[in-house]
């Protein structure tokens, strides 16, 4: 004997359309949040470098602290989002000392000349009235018009600032907070 059974499934919660709307909303939010996160990380670099420097009076807008700018959020074709902070090629080219400031160590001597390349005046030692013209191997000659080459040497190893590690540590916290916020949004 055939028995006819009917069942009614009642589901609760948001509809598929509502879920899709939420996903789109989260994606838009994540781009915005990632952009904000990138700016915070960039700011963290400035903070850690500026607060650990030994000569805090000498601020310069072209200093290492300002070199870690964010590239802006890029939405890739597969829908994922990406953002870059700082550029290693640019750091290597313009801030050769970035590794030594971060990891500490003894940098190699810097070659170039003071003023117009005249022999140094011992009376000016430590006064710093002449500009040092750095010359890399690619931009030789190392001597100025006066024919004198000078070397800049650090008096000892540079203390490790570890600004990259500290920023990464801070980023881990910020990322964790962001994830927590999004999970709680999804659960609502």
């Amino acid at each position: 004997m055939a028995v006819s059974v009917s069942a009614k499934v009642t589901r609760t919660g948001p509809s598929i359309d509502e879920l899709m709307t939420n996903v789109k909303l989260l994606q838009a939010l994540s781009v915005k949040e990632l952009d904000r996160l990138a700016k915070q990380v960039s700011s963290d670099f400035r903070y850690y470098i500026n607060h650990s420097r030994h000569r805090p009076g000498q601020y310069n807008k072209n200093s290492l602290a300002n070199a870690f700018t964010d590239s802006g959020v890029v939405v890739l074709p597969d829908g994922s989002v990406s953002v870059g902070i700082g550029n290693i090629a640019e750091l290597d080219a313009n801030y050769k000392y970035w590794k030594f400031v971060n990891y500490g160590g003894t940098p190699p001597r810097t070659m170039g000349y003071f003023g117009h390349g005249e022999p140094p005046d011992p009376g000016l030692a430590g006064v710093g009235t002449q500009v040092f013209h750095h010359r890399s191997a690619a931009s030789a000659p190392f001597a100025g018009p006066g024919g004198k080459t000078s070397y800049l040497l650090t008096p000892g190893p540079i203390r490790a600032m570890n600004y990259i590690e500290k920023v990464t540590n801070k980023l881990t916290i910020r990322w964790g907070n962001l994830r927590e916020k999004y999970f709680s949004t999804l659960q609502k």
């Binding site: 590794k99 990891y103 160590g105 000892g156 203390r159 570890n162 590690e165 500290k166 916290i173």
Partner: protein, 159 residues
């Protein structure tokens, strides 16, 4: 009788340095372990430098007064060869993964020349944040930075 004690951060730094130094001395010879970066340059290589470089403090739960601490350590290896650098890095990671003893360090009031310790917990790695060679390019053979290695760990104390 010891009557002053070091606070948690200092105790964690000392405990970690002590654990690493003890493990190295039990398995290697001629390696110095130091706690401050610049003192690594005063010693004969190879040197291992263990430093607490940053801390995270947060509430364990909303509205609770219990705090959650994470400690960021950097371990710098100043080796005499590339092979030694790699061997030491692997040894340290293998040691650190198993956790180590946390000691509360105490000293006589007004005299911290002698420290005493008592085991009061354990420290464990939450995350290995870095493990790489620090390459400064061409460095002179006498430069202590020639075979540098950096290990980063985030550490938490057992409650």
């Amino acid at each position: 009788m010891a009557d002053s004690y070091l606070r948690q951060s200092r105790s964690i730094e000392l405990s970690t340095k002590y654990a690493i130094e003890t493990a190295i001395n039990a398995n290697w010879t001629g390696i110095t372990t130091v706690k401050t970066f610049l003192s690594a340059y005063d010693k004969t290589l190879p040197v291992v430098c263990v430093r607490l470089i940053d801390e995270n403090v947060n509430r364990l739960e909303i509205s609770a007064n219990t705090l959650k601490y994470d400690y960021l350590f950097n371990i710098d290896i100043f080796a005499t060869s590339d092979g030694q650098r790699l061997d030491l890095a692997d040894f340290l990671i293998d040691f650190l993964k198993d956790s180590w003893v946390y000691y509360t360090w105490t000293h006589k009031s007004g005299d911290n020349s002698i420290l005493e310790k008592s085991a009061t917990g354990r420290l464990a790695v939450q995350e290995f944040t870095a493990n790489h060679r620090v390459d400064f390019g061409d460095t002179e053979t006498t430069n202590p930075d020639r075979f540098r290695h950096s290990i980063g760990i985030r550490v938490r104390k057992s409650s």
